[in-house]
Symmetry: none
Subunit: 119 residues, 4 copies
DNA sequence: GTGGTCTAGACCACA
DNA sequence: GTGGTCTAGACCACT
């Protein structure tokens, strides 16, 4: 994972984890990697890893059993909700940005239809 | 203007100024507000204002005549170029984000067609 | 300040600050000590100081202006609310504790009437 | 039993057991549940259960006969003493807490007189 | 081994 | 100067 310098690492990792939950790579109720494992996986410090889970817990994406581990929330609706939230935010940012630049809906749709994925 | 806490203020202001250039609210060759005025307008510190013009100068969006003021570049093509760059970046971010979430082009176009501007 | 080993230091400091707000030693809207100052005052690490303000911000006891400082919330009602919350918690803990031990209300009132402050 | 996350579980259980001794639910000289049973009753780990008896032994609330079990101390005075100690600590914590918040004895007595048990 | 807390020391962006 | 983030390394309580 390459970290963008504009956004704090811990937020980038949270976003990555949320993405994996939406993509089904992480299942509801699943045990997440331990702090120490997460630190290794993402090449970050253990404290940063701890902070990531702390913030995710506040957002109710996961919960913690002391001495046992951190677990993804069981609620399946949460996953759908996260997906929609993330999509909404992307859409809103994109549309207001494009409209600020003077593009109309039709232009935008046209550009998307024309969009090629990068390699 | 409301500042998003995640992105440095000076970048947010630069983006806003670029937007105004694209929208024609700022014309090629036009004199920009002084550091002090900019600081007042955007409710930022004067140092931040100075930095904004410094960065924009580096990007060749404007130039400074000492003792006279800061001026927008005269080149009209530049404006078109900025517009396209910003649009491209918006598009790329949006599409990769949505595709990461599992949306296909058709879903995306559908959602945009359905998009209502906020009041 | 003497730290009790059973409760995390940052929670003890938060409690102390809340107490000072209730006692009027800290006023609504007042600027709080900087992270670095707080660290010195309470003989804690700067990171711990930062965490204290972060948690207090989540609880909406204060808010932060980056590069400027951390400020107590302006809302005066908040102070009264904190006082009542803290008193309620003390009362609840005390009463359930005493009643668990078999004391009745009258015994308890009698003991309080009899209570002498320590030197 | 609901465990408060701020205090170590073993301390919470010890408090609970002391409470039961004071309430007469546990009699002097009585045999206490085995480590395993205690672990099941309180939904804790067996190691934690062992630690609980170890600590209680140190405090001379009980003693262990190897191969037979753990027994509550026979001394009846001990029970009265525990009750008074616990009450004193509750009282002291409560009173200093309330006085720190600015309440006077009369306010406090009034609030207690007004106190309704929760269902 | 797990999460939680704490320290020391550093660097960055912002005012 | 301010707050925010990050690392390295340590200790503790609990399973």
């Amino acid at each position: 994972m390459n970290y963008n310098s504009e956004m704090p690492i811990y937020l980038q990792v949270i976003q990555d984890i949320k993405k994996k939950m939406v993509q089904g790579k992480i299942q509801p109720g699943e045990k997440l990697p331990s702090n120490r494992e997460l630190a290794v996986i993402y090449k970050i410090n253990q404290n940063t890893a701890a902070r990531i889970y702390r913030e995710m817990e506040i957002a109710e994406y996961c919960y913690t059993k002391r001495g046992i581990g951190t677990f993804v929330v069981e609620d399946e609706n949460m996953f759908e909700q996260i997906k929609e939230e993330m999509a909404e935010e992307l859409l809103r940012n994109f549309m207001t940005g494009m409209q600020d630049l003077g593009y109309k809906k039709d232009d935008i749709i046209f550009q998307i239809a024309d969009y090629k994925e990068e390699e």
